[in-house]
Amino acid sequence: MSQKLSRRNVLAKISAALAAACAAPAAQAAKATVQKVLVESGGAKGYDPTKHKWAMAIDASRCIGCGSCADACKKENHVPEGHYYRTWIERYVITKPKPGSDEARGEVLVDSPEGGMHGFGPCPVPKEELLQSFFVPKLCNLCLHSPCAQVCPVGATFDSPDGAVLVDRKYCIGCGFCIQACPYGCRFMSPVTHTAEKCTLCYHRITRGLKPACVEVCPVQARIFGDLKNPVPDDPLQTFYKNNRVQTLKPHLGTEPRVMYAGIDKEVR
């Protein structure tokens, strides 16, 4: 195996070393370029996501179904035209049981014309047959164990440290698993970007110190928003938790939603 230290041999070794020396910075540069393409961003500075925990609560007994929230959400987040909503309002109409029947309540009718964005028409049931009726605003339930984030194969949907469940548009491959996984129907495939979309809790607003658009425009404080880690004096969220008996949607699924509802009925799913 011995080799002579020939001139040819030495030259080959020197050029190999040179090539290696050149390749290292070239690889570095290549890495930097690739990453620049992948991660370039001009986000807000000085916001530390580990220092906040945002949450929303819904007091459905206050909701007047005006649709301002769904409308504002669409405008704020440029949600595509058509039947795509990040937040919407449902109207529950429960009829009286049929005369002579031994049931406690009659039929349950649920509607949400255009997500409730332009309000609701007259009650579909005549007054004599109506047992009760109410509105329920819906949004991402901010699950503690979010099924959507669990099924994402590429880490594009995730629970952010400050409590929002977000979609990384650059990583989303549009497979649609998360849309199937969400038991609350809070996600859709954007016909524009062909990536999954959902309520971000107006992440671009709350990190700037603004309220989410739906909370901003709600005229009756049916939507309550706050930071669990930094409660303000007379924190609306803490007041809500204190004064209401709350429940979550579909608790049997074990998703542990962080959005609490007050004033809803057993029919609400």
Partner: protein
């Protein structure tokens, strides 16, 4: 070629394996963004991407700076809990440069909140539009920023 007296096909197999694993490691090192796993199994910079989106609604307090008359008036009357932008529409652009203009609503905005509907909570003030003074122009009898007031 004989390394450690291994049969050549095993050596070749090892080399191929090292090649595959090596190119995977190189690709991973180059392609994984530095912020992946900053907070969890996702790209930490995605948070900054989403934060960078421009807002459309400026928030109620932002109007106080230039329209303190309307602001204080609104906060005294029956509409004190309303945000300006629920009637006037998104105004972030207007707060940045007033030239951007602002929607001036007409009486049609009133009905979305005040039209009587049995699904609405009983405590909310509602009118049957057609019966309430013939659904006339609401602003003739109500100041929108202070609805109990007559103009």
């Amino acid at each position: 070629m004989r390394l450690f007296n291994m049969p050549p096909q095993i050596v070749r197999l090892c080399l191929v394996t090292i090649g595959i694993v090596g190119s995977y490691l190189v690709a991973r090192a180059v392609l994984t963004p530095p912020s992946f796993r900053e907070y969890g199994f996702f790209r930490g910079d995605a948070l900054k991407d989403i934060m960078a989106l421009p807002p459309q609604y400026g928030g109620k307090v932002s109007c106080d700076e230039c329209h303190s008359d309307q602001f204080t008036k609104l906060n005294k009357g029956g509409h004190k809990r309303l945000s300006c932008e629920v009637c006037h529409g998104p105004g972030y652009a207007h707060t940045q440069s007033p030239d951007a203009g602002m929607h001036k609503p007409t009486f049609t905005v009133c009905s979305k909140c005040h039209e009587a509907n049995p699904s609405r909570p009983k405590t909310h003030k509602q009118i049957v539009l057609k019966e309430h003074y013939a659904g006339g122009k609401c602003m003739e009898c109500h100041v929108p920023h202070s609805p109990a007031e007559v103009p």
